[in-house]
């Protein structure tokens, strides 16, 4: 493999055989044989049904699976040598698998997709998660069509979610992205999304691929690049967001991928987000939000304990350099409260987040340590969310999140002052 190239010789050879395409679909996998097969078949069905005339390719970036995931991918290709029964295709569809280093959520997979899209001059790209077990062929159309036909540069998904799902998105990512970049994109960190070749080439050309943040939060950075640049953004309703069996993602790595990347992006996009005024809605295709409210068993006590313990252990060596004395004092005050009284208010949460962002910008301590320090605080906020919305309806949740968003927006000047060192 040539030095400093993310494309192996074998992969490059396969790309040569694919040639120019209109649509490139990327799927990153790591031992996902249980779910990836269905995802790929759904994607393929979507391409055949909705875009039968377009030249398409499915690229799989695999971590080195031992369960036959790459073979599943290759078996989905359609050619004059291979076409399953009941599969009628006008064109050849290549399904190519290549190995990338690191974990599937790492930047290497997206980097590979971007590089391939650039080489193949794909006008439209889409990425799908390998564990989207509820995926339907129509998801392909809902994400790809706005880019291919309506010239959007980024299309993020909208899901039907449980009211207690994706609390990090509801409490931090969405409201902060909305407040700072001025656009109400509900899922700034997406695992199923589409983007234009123009945005892809722009992002690929940015000199940031050796940064840690890209390695862990490339998807978030792609979103912030689109929001911070002259790109058209939309969101499209897909359906249920489910994932395969297995434990939910580790919180710290989730925060790294999302908040970490978001904080990092603020440095480079300062002119864009500092000038953004009141947030505007984003073109939405389909339902904007669907929330399910079935009962769910959640261990709130554990969240409370982790929050309290976390704050007490970290307050002196870690939180003190990051937070202002007032915020620190308030945190200490609420951690002293019993479980039934503890409330991590929206205002305090926003203040915390903004101070974290400002400290990240100034690198008061190691940036990765700042991100890690968010984890216990997030737990406190999640605890409060669960308590305050235990009996909430879908509309209640929506109003709650909207109120938090407005708080983020109103307190944005405070972040700007901290950023400039005035506070």
């Amino acid at each position: 493999m040539p030095e400093e190239s993310i494309l192996t010789d074998d992969f490059l050879r396969e790309l040569m055989n694919v040639g120019e395409v209109d649509i490139l679909i990327g799927i990153a996998t790591c031992n996902d044989a249980k779910t990836a097969g269905d995802v790929i078949l759904a994607v393929r069905a979507g391409l055949l049904k909705c875009f039968p005339r377009q030249r398409a390719v499915i690229i799989n970036a695999d971590c080195g699976s031992q369960d036959g995931t790459p073979d599943l991918v290759r078996a989905a290709s359609i050619s004059d040598m291979r076409q399953g029964p009941n599969v009628h295709a006008l064109r050849t569809l290549h399904c190519v698998s290549t190995q990338v280093p690191g974990d599937p959520h790492g930047g290497a997979a997206l980097h590979t997709f971007l590089a391939a899209a650039d080489l193949l001059r794909a006008s439209t790209c889409a990425v799908f998660a390998p564990d989207s077990t509820a995926i339907e062929p129509e998801w392909v159309e809902r994400l790809v069509r706005p880019v291919l036909r309506d010239n959007f540069d980024l299309v993020t998904p909208l899901y039907r979610r449980h009211k207690f799902d994706a609390l990090l998105v509801r409490n931090l990512l969405y409201p902060m992205t909305r407040a700072l970049y001025g656009r109400r994109l509900r899922e700034p960190y997406a695992l199923d999304f589409a983007f234009s070749g123009k945005l892809g080439s722009y992002f690929l050309g940015r000199d940031l691929w050796t940064e840690d943040s890209v390695q862990t939060g490339a998807e978030t950075l792609l979103t912030t690049s689109a929001l911070g640049g002259d790109f058209r953004v939309a969101q499209s309703f897909l359906g249920e967001r489910t994932r395969g069996e297995g434990s939910p993602p580790d919180l710290v790595s989730a925060i790294r991928r999302t908040a970490g990347a978001l904080f990092w992006s603020l440095d480079g996009n300062y002119p864009a987000w500092s000038n953004a005024k009141e947030s505007q809605p984003v073109t939405t295709i389909g339902a904007e939000h669907e929330i399910s409210v079935e009962p769910m068993r959640v261990d709130r006590t554990r969240l409370y304990e982790l929050f309290v313990r976390g704050v007490s252990e970290l307050i002196e060596p870690v939180l003190k350099p990051i937070l202002s004395p007032a915020t620190l004092a308030e945190l200490q005050r609420i951690t002293a409260l019993p479980e039934e009284s503890l409330r991590y208010s929206g205002e305090l949460w926003v203040q915390t987040i903004y101070e974290f962002a400002a400290s990240y910008h100034k690198s008061v301590i190691s940036r990765d340590h700042i991100i890690q320090a968010l984890a216990p605080l997030y737990r406190g906020r999640a605890f409060t969310f669960l308590v305050e919305n235990s009996d909430a309806t879908a509309d209640d949740i929506e109003n709650y999140v909207e109120a938090l968003c407005l708080t983020f927006e109103h307190m944005k000047p405070s972040l700007l002052q901290m950023w400039a060192g005035e506070k």
């Binding site: 207690f164 799902d165 994706a166 609390l167 990090l168 998105v169 960190y189 695992l191 994932r243 434990s247 939910p248 993602p249 580790d250 919180l251 710290v252 989730a254 925060i255 999302t258 068993r297 959640v298 261990d299 554990r302 982790l306 313990r309 976390g310 252990e313 970290l314 060596p317 870690v318 301590i365 190691s366 340590h369 890690q372 320090a373 984890a375 216990p376 997030y378 999640a382």
Partner: protein, 234 residues
């Protein structure tokens, strides 16, 4: 005979005058060197002060925890201390150079030894300073990892890490200075043990999922059930 005594006296006097005539210029040169040295050392101090300010060295020092240590000892900030140190070392060096001009027997050897010692001194200071930095970084990393993994006694783990790394760097520094080599041997034994623990934590940081699962299985058996209730943040 009187003539002979007078001759000898005048010759001796001439000799002394001759020696003095040889010594005085050297003495003047020595003074000039010391004066120039003072100027250069001052310039070096000023330059280093500016460089350290520009490179935000004080912040690095604060990260390392060195600033806190100096404050406790009522010493000026790190960059100032370092600048002054460099000034005195540089000027002392010029003084020695000046003295060597006097060509006093036996002194030249000590001058050479001083200059030979300087690199080792700087090396030791370098090791110590970066040891402090590493200790601060890794102890904080360990603290955060332990807190987020909900391990018992995260502060203790953090402190142990910090202490071991400081001991390690100090012992390396002393070895560099050629002091207490036996102590180094003993310290190394301690360090080796600490290193193993450090590696175990590094494993936990680098492969934290695996480490976490392993630790959960070994230490926190019942937490596995609770994990199933944990909500997905994304």
């Amino acid at each position: 005979m009187w003539q002979m005594i007078m001759n000898e006296l005048s010759q001796a006097t001439l000799g002394v005058i001759h020696n003095m005539a040889e010594f005085v210029p050297r003495f003047v040169v020595m003074l000039i060197i010391i004066l120039i040295g003072w100027v250069i050392a001052a310039a070096l101090r000023g330059a280093l002060r500016s460089i350290l300010r520009l490179t935000k060295f004080d912040k690095l020092s604060e990260d390392a925890g060195a600033t806190q240590l100096l404050k406790k000892a009522a010493l000026p900030p790190t960059s100032e201390l370092l600048s002054r140190f460099v000034f005195w070392i540089a000027w002392f060096g010029f003084v020695l150079v000046g003295i060597s001009v006097l060509q006093i027997v036996g002194l030249e050897e000590h001058v050479a030894r001083f200059f030979g010692f300087l690199p080792r001194l700087f090396a030791a200071m370098f090791v110590f300073f970066f040891g402090l930095l590493a200790a601060s970084f890794f102890s904080r990393a360990a603290l955060l990892a332990a807190v987020n993994a909900d391990l018992p006694s995260p502060r203790l783990i953090s402190t142990i890490i910090r202490t071991l790394i400081i001991i390690f760097s100090v012992s390396i520094g002393f070895e560099e200075l050629g002091l207490g080599e036996n102590t180094v041997l003993v310290a190394f034994g301690i360090v080796f043990g600490a290193l193993m623990l450090g590696l175990a934590l590094a494993f936990g940081l680098g492969g934290r999922d695996l480490a976490r699962q392993y630790l959960e299985r070994r230490l926190v058996h019942d937490k596995k059930e609770d994990k199933q209730d944990e909500l997905s943040p994304l």
